[in-house]
């Protein structure tokens, strides 16, 4: 016996994103609904998910350039003054022999924000095209984006500690540069973009198609 895989939406149910409670909306009422158990606002899907994600993505792409081109810090020592961008900081670590750390910083500060923007653009486009390809892979990609996003904050903390510790008047001082503000903005904007994307939209085009029954499993 084969039963169709049914989503909450197809069954006319809303699920609470806080406590998981399922509820059936009263006829005609779609706005300002609250969970009967925890009173959290309930939505069928995150409201305006695609357009909000696009807006935040465009803002992060705009900030991505100054974040990588402007200096994030200025080092003043007896040898003179030197300005560093995110990338020159990585090069410095590499040349001073700490290449594992150079790789970590390069990955967290350069690759993660870039790949995150590309991945979210791809996910949002595929959802708008109602693609039914690679559903599971796209869900996994979204999980990865959510998981690694926070690690881009790494360079912000590195700059904070360097600025706070290297404050020997006359010997050496480090000051943060405008690139740090732009970089912080990229991290925050991409995190909000990932949060506003609703992964259930990936699976929505399947609605109405017939598939095998899906009992939940445990491990």
């Amino acid at each position: 016996m084969s039963r169709r895989a049914l989503t909450a939406r197809e069954a006319g149910l809303l699920s609470c994103h806080v406590c998981g409670q399922l509820a059936r909306p009263p006829e005609g009422a779609v706005h300002s609904l609250r969970c009967p158990r925890c009173r959290a606002p309930m939505h069928l899907r995150k409201p305006a998910s695609v357009s909000t994600t696009w807006a935040l993505l465009i803002a992060s792409i705009v900030m991505f350039l100054p974040a990588n081109l402007l200096p994030v810090m200025t080092t003043t020592s007896l040898l003179g003054s030197q300005q560093d961008t995110i990338m020159s900081g990585v090069v410095f670590l590499w040349q001073s022999g700490s290449w594992p750390l150079a790789a970590v910083v390069f990955f967290a500060s350069v690759m993660v924000p870039l790949l995150k923007i590309i991945a979210l653009v791809y996910l949002t486009l595929s959802v708008q095209r109602r693609s039914t390809q690679n559903l599971l892979q796209r869900t996994r990609l979204y999980r990865l984006v959510e998981f690694v996003g926070r690690w881009s904050m790494l360079d912000i903390y590195v700059i904070t500690m360097l600025v706070a510790l290297v404050s020997f008047r006359g010997l050496a001082t480090i000051e943060a540069g405008p690139g740090a503000i732009a970089f912080g903005a990229v991290v925050v904007l991409t995190m909000f973009a990932a949060m506003s994307f609703d992964p259930r939209l990936i699976w929505d085009p399947l609605a109405g198609r017939s598939t095998d029954p899906h009992p939940a499993h445990h491990d």
Partner: protein, 219 residues
């Protein structure tokens, strides 16, 4: 509001996946078992043994470690006999005075404020639960815990601190402070507390007949 029909009552173990919206039955879980979505493998529920007591113990431990991590200096730098040591809050203050207000605010929020709020909110939810007083009033605190979680980045901060120390190790002698080790221990306590927490404990109160199966419309 239309009166709910009796057949709209939903089985208590019916859940919708938060990532693909598939309706499924949540299996009865033995202690230590985790339920995952049958279609997209998303996390559905966990049954950690002795959840309430362990989460409370670990969260209280984390709170003590948090106080130590913020009251004592994180790291010190010895440069030709001149020593500079900073606490996390002093580091934020230096950034603020340098005119980097947005970056200072970002570090203050993600490394100081949000982790503390998260710990306090978890205790506000768990202590009444442990004392056997379950009230719907704690739901807003739990919603706050959930929305703060992605913004507490203590573990990223620790890695950032390590990177900055490697960058400075050729310039001056690095002294690891009490707060450095407290921060490392805090990350462990937070991780284990997160794993021990069974959020289903919060929602055990049965719904009133009137609320079950229907949505409450606000105003």
């Amino acid at each position: 509001m239309p009166a709910p029909a009796a057949h709209l009552k939903l089985p208590a173990d019916l859940v919708a996946c938060h990532e693909c919206d598939l309706l499924q039955t949540e299996p009865a879980l033995l202690p230590g078992q985790t339920a995952r979505c049958a279609r997209c493998d998303a996390f559905i529920a966990r049954n950690p043994p002795d959840s309430l007591d362990r989460t409370l113990a670990l969260t209280l431990t984390a709170l003590v470690l948090y106080v130590i991590a913020n009251a004592w200096p994180l790291v010190g730098l010895d440069m030709q006999g001149r020593v500079v040591a900073v606490t996390l809050f002093e580091a934020v203050q230096v950034l603020w005075r340098d005119g980097m207000m947005p970056v200072a605010a970002l570090v203050f929020g993600t490394a100081i404020l949000f982790p503390l709020l998260e710990l306090v909110m978890i205790l506000l939810v768990l202590v009444p639960l442990r004392l056997g007083r379950v009230t719907p009033r704690m739901a807003p605190f739990f919603r706050l815990v959930r929305s703060l979680k992605p913004w507490g980045m203590v573990e990223v901060f620790l890695l950032g601190m390590l990177v900055s120390l490697v960058k400075l190790s050729h310039l001056a002698t690095v002294i690891l402070g009490t707060a450095f080790w407290a921060t490392a221990a805090l990350i462990l306590a937070l991780t284990f507390a997160g794993r021990a927490f069974d959020t289903r404990l919060l929602w055990q109160t049965p719904l009133s007949d009137e609320a079950a199966g229907v949505l409450v419309t606000s105003r």
